[in-house]
């Protein structure tokens, strides 16, 4: 790993001042599980590493009537095990619980994972399904970016070099919502998915689909929100036939790459299969609710 200056400021203001000073020569460090791997391979070579380890308040997780507010420094392990979050957004807790191994989940942070923007990660597509908002801060102020606008390309977000992601907010799942998280792992249990699918489904009083949102990970340069799949189910009974027809639309919602986990064509097929499974489980949960 190349040499770098290491700074560990003790306030967000000081973090922002350093980012304003060094710009794209600086990188923010949180859990390190993503960034340090890239630095060891010398794919990323910051002159200055600005660690968030001494900044207070970033590890606050709030779940209340306003929904979910996760500080950027909250570790994956807490997102997986927090009982209030499991109640309010079981889909999100489940996705965080599927990341790598328990040891990695004890290091990796919510903000680090989102800013790293590896489209193969579990949580980013789920935040899109939930309609999340990213809260960014710099020396010149704060701004909010919808999760739908945040991800731009492989490892690329709308974060400017001088900005830090401070928290993510999202509404809790609607009452009676059914959900499912499906991760297809053809190799090993701690691997990235070939495809991962998250589904959120709400039924009206007649059992027709009132809301359906489907996210797909590992399947494109950014985490995908498969809007056509959800739209195809609105107003319909979630029968096996209706779900299968909607899931077919996942094929064109994704843009996967060939890799060790399968060819692009195979992953398109699997996006359909796992979307069908996710919608089937989400519909069953919504009926029971």
């Amino acid at each position: 790993m190349r040499a770098f200056d290491f700074k560990a400021p003790d306030s967000l203001d000081a973090v922002c001042a350093l980012l304003a000073q060094y710009g794209s020569d600086a990188k923010l460090l949180a859990g390190g599980t993503g960034l340090l791997n890239l630095m060891k391979q010398e794919l990323v070579q910051p002159a200055v590493l600005v660690s968030l380890q001494r900044v207070p308040g970033l590890d606050t997780l709030t779940v209340d009537g306003n929904g979910i507010c996760a500080g950027a420094g909250v570790r994956h392990r807490r997102m997986e095990t927090d009982t209030a979050l499991q109640q309010a957004a079981p889909l999100l807790a489940a996705a965080y619980g599927h990341v790598a191994t328990v040891r990695i989940r004890m290091s990796a942070t919510v903000g680090g994972g989102l800013a790293h923007a590896d489209p193969a990660m579990d949580a980013p597509a789920v935040w899109r399904v939930l309609g999340a908002t990213m809260h960014l801060r710099s020396a010149s102020g704060t701004r909010q970016v919808a999760a739908d606008e945040f991800f731009e390309d492989f490892y690329t977000t709308s974060l400017a070099p001088e900005e830090v992601l401070t928290e993510v907010t999202a509404p809790a799942l609607p009452a009676g919502a059914g959900w499912s998280y499906q991760k297809f792992l053809p190799r090993s249990a701690d691997d990235y998915a070939a495809v991962s699918v998250s589904a959120l489904l709400c039924l009206d009083g007649d059992g027709r689909v009132a809301q359906a949102r489907v996210g797909i990970g590992s399947a494109a340069p950014i985490p995908v929100l498969a809007q056509a799949v959800g739209a195809a189910l609105i107003g319909r009974q979630p029968t096996p036939q209706a779900i299968a027809a909607a899931a077919e639309l996942a094929r064109d919602a994704v843009d996967p790459l060939d890799d060790l986990r399968g060819s692009a064509a195979y992953k398109r097929d699997m996006a359909v299969v796992f979307t069908r499974r996710a919608l089937t489980e989400a519909a069953a949960r919504a009926r029971r609710a």
Binding site: M1, R2, A3, F4, D5, F6, A8, L29, G32, T33, L36, N37, K40, L49, S51, Q53, R75, R77, A100, T101, V102, R103, I104, M106, S107, A189, D190
Partner: protein
Amino acid sequence: MSDPTVTLSLRINGTPWQGEVLANRLLVDFLRYDVGLTGTKEGCGVGVCGACTVRLNDRLVSSCLTLAAMADGTELTTVEGLAGREELKPIQRAFIEHGGFQCGICTPGQLMAAQALLEHDANPSEDAIKAWMMSNLCRCTGYYGIVRSVKAAAGGAA
């Protein structure tokens, strides 16, 4: 110009440690080469295999994916810190008595992970043991012995 350093102050296995360390020093290299604690092994170097697992406060970490600088102010525990001077931890005795290791390279990390599991859940199910211990790979394929050892330590049979 020499490479940048940081000043570290932490406790390692209960003993205070203070000094200068290279900013780009990985925690695993700091432990092995600067502190002289060679129980922690580097395996894959990318956070997958778990051989380099140590504890920072109450968190397990891959010391190959952690900078020494990130351990500033923490209570760090390595495999050398598990046992007292005379007495092994139950998990260490169980690994010896139930075939929990073969070549031994992965064992320090396995022990750190297993000890953390038992502190989190004193009587884990076999599924819970497997779900937790999947974070640590063993190339000798000693997994049955590892699961037996964790069970034995949990049951107090060790």
